[in-house]
């Protein structure tokens, strides 16, 4: 299976990954509609960190032994048995933020737009490569086979 890793030296902080992550998780899957018509606007599942000339984009690592899954008391987080990807069921989530408390990457955010729920990377539901990797103009996000 493949996972996303960061090469911060070549990240330009252009935020294209974030923009296309929003589009990918919109209803229309179209840039203009996602940003101008969908209300509330979909949230990015990727986090850009920036300070001075350093920047990088971080998303869920889809851990083999995920702390978030252990801590999720509602049963909203689950593992896709085929792909090992850690997924989140919005309907089941109660917004208790246990996952926010335990994820060592800080890769789960709070979606406070309507019903309060957790929000995280779903690896674009099997898209190969995920959109953030595909749209990165400088290969600052890499899609790598792991064990």
């Amino acid at each position: 299976m493949k996972r996303i890793f960061i090469k911060e030296e070549v990240c330009m902080g252009c935020r294209l990954c974030e923009i296309y992550c929003i589009v990918q998780h919109s209803r229309s899957k179209e840039l203009l509609k996602a940003f101008k018509k969908e209300n509330p606007r979909p949230l990015p599942r990727i986090m850009i960190e920036e300070k001075g000339s350093t920047s990088f984009a971080l998303q869920c690592r889809h851990c083999e032994e995920p702390y978030c899954w252990e801590a999720c008391m509602s049963g909203a987080l689950y593992r896709d048995e085929q792909t090992g990807v850690i997924l989140h069921n919005r309907e089941q989530c109660v917004g208790c933020w246990m996952c926010v408390m335990v994820c060592p990457y800080g890769a789960i955010s709070r979606d406070l737009r309507e019903k309060k729920v957790a929000s995280k990377c779903d690896l674009c539901g099997g898209k190969d490569p995920p959109i953030c990797v595909a749209k990165c103009p400088n290969e600052a996000l890499v899609w790598v086979e792991i064990k």
């Binding site: 971080l58 933020w97 060592p104 800080g106 709070r110």
Partner: protein, 421 residues
């Protein structure tokens, strides 16, 4: 080999999911006193408040046991474990043999020995049936007393308030959540709760519950008497070890286990709120009745039972995430240093926005934190504590919001987030 699990909550499911990752056919039997498929105990307050319906209380899918090939004995009570004959004995006479046994029986509410606790209208609040009972009597309740200002007490108080009940929380200590928060944080929360119309009475306790068969009022140690139709005892939970008293199983407050989740008896494992765990911050063995610890211990027990010995318990620590009175609150580890000696404390408070952030360090390592309001990326701090990483060089960054991996030394970030070598 037959595996039997007594209990059907986080610890049990952690074990099942670990075992099934390794072995999909090994016979497993789950026994639980409660008749329900696995549900989330912490979610019963959401059911009481009306935030969720009953179908959402279930923690795994309806066909979980079937899919995982688990035999169940639900709604059946274990009366005894015959450690010599290796059999679990049920109240109805059935005896279930095991080769490996996991005790994951959880905790039970602590009931104080005060006059009137057996009156009708006095409840505890840890199980689904408790929530259902409360829902059924709600129409006849105008005033309720919640005894205990801990996590359960506050969640139940808030739920009752949302249902239109006048609620008073009685707390013995001088602040609510005194085991979880510090004074500053408690005060913030107390204000927010009062704004929601929840009454708080601290530094006092219920001396007597009065009534003729049914609760009519409570008499407090401060001399006051309050009328109420409902009293909820939420003083705390204790390990559910009753059936193991006077057996060879080693128990202190909870069942004692090693880093493999083994008890002192061969082939007997224990996990979750029924145990006592090594707290790696306080460096002592004590009950750690929190969901993530239960699941984690269950998982280790599961792996150990099927020979995956590399999975071991490295010690836990207390942590809680709770949202009450619209305030998200996360507390991790030691939130009030026992002395000024050797600890470094960083704090930032904004009373206007109800945000508070406190980080406690010892020898340049995070040993505790409180985050109120702005809780995003709290897990990074939890991770630092869990791993005992030195934060020398970026201590003050920990107080910032947003805070993230950008604050870390580059080598550490590359090691964690970069392509594995």
């Amino acid at each position: 080999m037959e595996i039997v699990i007594v209990g059907n909550s986080a610890g049990a499911i952690g074990a099942i999911e670990a075992i099934r990752k390794v072995n999909t056919t090994l016979p497993i039997t789950v026994i639980s006193e409660e008749p329900y498929p696995v549900y989330s105990r912490p979610l019963i307050s959401y059911l009481l408040s009306g935030e969720i319906k009953e179908d959402r209380i279930f923690y795994r899918s309806k066909n979980f046991y079937e899919k995982q090939h688990i035999k169940t004995r639900l709604g059946r009570t274990v009366t005894k474990v015959d450690f010599e004959k290796r059999k679990v004995e049920l109240k109805d006479g059935e005896k279930i043999p095991y080769d490996r046994l996991l005790i994951a029986m959880g905790g039970i509410p602590f009931i104080p020995k005060i006059e009137g606790v057996h009156l009708s209208g006095v409840y505890t609040f840890t199980r689904l049936d408790d929530a259902k009972k409360l829902l059924s009597i709600l129409p006849s309740v105008q005033r309720a007393i919640v005894v205990g200002g801990g996590l359960i007490g506050l969640k139940v108080a808030e739920a009752l308030r949302k249902r239109g009940v006048e609620v008073t929380v009685i707390e013995l200590a001088n602040h609510i959540l005194n085991l979880t928060l510090d004074e500053t944080a408690s005060l913030l929360l107390e204000k927010a709760l009062e704004k929601e119309g929840i009454h708080l009475m601290t530094s006092t306790t219920v001396e007597r519950i009065l009534g003729d068969r049914k609760v009519e009022s409570v008499h407090l140690s401060n001399g006051k008497t309050i009328n109420a139709q409902l009293v909820i005892l939420a003083i705390g939970v204790i390990p559910n070890v009753g059936i193991f008293k006077d057996t060879p199983l080693q128990i202190d407050k909870g069942i004692l286990v090693n880093e493999r989740m083994e008890t002192n008896l061969p082939h007997i494992y224990a996990a979750g709120d029924v145990t006592q765990s090594y707290d790696k911050i306080l460096k002592m063995v004590r009950p750690l009745p929190i969901w993530p610890n239960a699941y984690h211990q269950g998982k280790i027990a599961g792996y150990q039972m099927v020979g995956r010995e590399e999975y071991q318990y490295e010690g836990g620590f207390t942590m809680n995430s709770i949202e009450v009175a619209h305030l998200p609150i996360i507390s991790i580890g030691l939130t009030q240093p026992p002395s000024e000696d050797g600890y470094q404390v960083f704090k930032k408070i904004d009373r206007g926005t109800n945000t508070y952030r406190k980080i406690i360090l010892k020898e340049d390592r995070v040993v505790g934190a409180i985050l109120i309001g702005e809780i995003d990326r709290a897990g990074i701090i939890t991770g630092l504590l869990r791993e005992g990483l030195s934060v020398k060089g970026f201590k003050k960054e920990l107080l910032k919001n947003p805070f993230g991996w950008i604050s870390f030394p580059k080598h550490l970030r590359k090691e964690r987030l970069g392509k594995p070598k």
